[in-house]
Amino acid sequence: MNVPSRGTYSGGFAWAMARDLRLAWRHPDEIILTLAFFALVASLFPLGIGAEPQLLARIGPGVIWVGALLAAFLALPGIFAADFADGSLEQMSLSPHPPLGWAAGKIAAHWIISGLPLTLMSPLIGLQYGLTADTLLVEAVSLALGTPILSLLGGACAALALGARGGGMLLALLALPLFVPVLIFGAGAAEAQATGLAPTPHLSLLGAALIAALVGVPAAVVAAVRISVD
C-alpha cells in the first residue's frame, strides 16, 4: 500500500519558482514591457513639467517610486490569471504540497521578474534626474525593501479579483490604496537622503512592514486562491 505524499513547503516553493521563472524566461516580453513602462513614465515627467535640473532633482525620488509602483502594479494580473484560466491553479490547490509553499514561490518568482529588475534599473533613471550617488543608493534600497511588499499585497489583491468583472480598474481600487503607505515611506527615505536628513527611520519602517507582510500576506493569498477556485 502506498503511503501518500504530504508534500513539503519547500517542495511547493521550489516547484513554483522553477516553473514560473522558466515560463518567464521563455516569454520575456513581460519583463521587457515592465522596464519599458518604467522608463516611459519616468520620461513623461520632465517632458510635462519642464526639465529644469533643480526641479528634477527635487521630484526625482518620488517620480522614480511612482513609476516603479505603477510598473509593478501593471505586472500584477500576470501572477495568477494564466494559471487560473488554464486550470493550473486547481491542480496546485490539489497538490499534496501545502499551498503556502507554492503561493509564496509564485510571489517570489513574480518579484524576481518585476520588482527586482525595477530596483536594478532605478539608478539609471535616477541619473536622468540628476540625483546624487547616495540618493540613488537609498532609492534602490527602498525599492528593494518596498517592491517585495508590493508583490505580496498586490498578489493578494490579484488573487481576490480572479474571475471578477471590472478587470484592471477593480484591481487598481483594491491594490493602490494598500500601496500608498509603502510609497510614502519608500519615496520618503530617498527624499530624506536627498535633503540631507537620515533615511534610516523610513527604511526601518519599510523593513518592518516587509517582515510583517512576509509573515502575514501569503496566508491571505492562500485563502483568496481557495475562494477563487471554488
Binding site: L160, R165, G166, L173, L174, P181, A224, I227
Partner: protein, 241 residues
C-alpha cells in the same frame, strides 16, 4: 430558546423591519439633543472660536467610520468561518453607511483644517490612513458586486475586509506614532481635557450616528435579503400579497 432563530434571512427580514424605525427615531432625538448641546450650549473655544463646532460632526463620523468597519469585518469573519448567508448580507448593508461616514469625516475634517491649520489637506499619517479606509470601503463594495455568483463576491469581499482591519490600528495610533498635523487624542478612557459640555455633545452625537447607522443597515439589509432570496417561497408570497 433558539438562538439562531433570527439568523435566517426570512425571519430576520421581519425583525429588521420592526427595529429600524426605533433606531431612526433614537437617532433623530439624540441628534437634536446633541446639536443643541454642540451649537448652543457648549462654550466658545478659547483658541478656535466658533469653527471648532464642526467637531460635533467630525469626531462622531470619524469614530463611526472605524467602528462600522470593525463590525463589518466581524460579519465577514462569520461569513468565512460559518459560511452563513445573512452575515454576508449584513456586511454588504453596513458598507455604504461606513463609506458615507468616512467621507463625511474627511470632508468635515478638511473644512475644519483650513481655518485652523491653513490647509484643506495634508498627507499625514491619520488623514492618509483614513483615506485608505474610504478606498477599502469602496473596494469592498466593488469586489462584492464584481462576480456573477453573489456568494463568491461575499467571500472575496469578506477576505478583503478582514485583511484591511490592519488599517484600523494605524488610523487610531497614527497620532501617537508620528509627528502629525492632526491633534492628538483628547478623549480616552482615563479622562479628557475637554470641557464637559463639549464632551457630552460629542458623545451624544456619536450615539446618534451609531443609531442612524444601525437603522440604515437594517433597512438596507431588507432589500438585500429580498433580492438574494427572491426565489424563495416566502418572498414570492410577499410579492403576491
Amino acid at each position: 430558546m433558539n438562538w439562531f432563530y433570527f439568523s435566517s434571512p426570512s425571519t430576520f427580514y421581519g425583525l429588521a423591519g420592526r427595529l429600524a424605525p426605533w433606531f431612526f427615531a433614537l437617532a433623530a432625538v439624540t441628534a437634536a439633543w446633541g446639536l443643541y448641546l454642540g451649537l448652543l450650549v457648549a462654550p466658545t473655544d478659547a483658541q478656535q472660536g466658533e469653527v471648532y463646532r464642526v467637531i460635533f460632526i467630525h469626531v462622531p463620523t470619524a469614530w463611526m467610520s472605524m467602528f462600522l468597519y470593525f463590525v463589518m469585518a466581524c460579519y465577514c469573519a462569520l461569513t468565512l468561518i460559518f459560511n452563513t448567508r445573512l452575515s454576508a448580507m449584513m456586511a454588504r448593508a453596513i458598507a455604504p453607511t461606513g463609506a458615507l461616514f468616512t467621507a463625511l469625516a474627511l470632508w468635515t475634517g478638511s473644512f475644519w483644517g483650513k481655518p485652523t491649520w491653513g490647509t484643506y489637506w495634508v498627507w499625514d499619517a491619520r488623514l492618509t490612513s483614513e483615506l485608505v479606509l474610504l478606498f477599502l470601503y469602496f473596494g469592498f463594495i466593488a469586489l462584492s458586486n464584481a462576480f456573477e455568483d453573489p456568494r463568491r463576491g461575499d467571500r472575496a469581499a469578506a477576505l478583503l475586509a478582514i485583511i484591511g482591519v490592519v488599517n484600523l490600528p494605524i488610523i487610531y495610533f497614527s497620532v501617537q506614532w508620528w509627528n502629525t498635523l492632526h491633534q492628538g487624542s483628547s478623549v480616552s478612557f482615563k479622562g479628557t481635557s475637554m470641557h464637559v459640555t463639549m464632551l457630552t455633545g460629542m458623545l451624544v452625537m456619536s450615539f446618534s450616528a451609531w443609531m442612524y447607522a444601525a437603522g440604515a443597515a437594517l433597512v438596507r439589509v431588507r432589500s438585500i435579503i429580498l433580492e438574494r432570496e427572491r426565489r424563495a417561497q416566502w418572498v414570492r408570497d410577499l410579492r403576491g400579497a
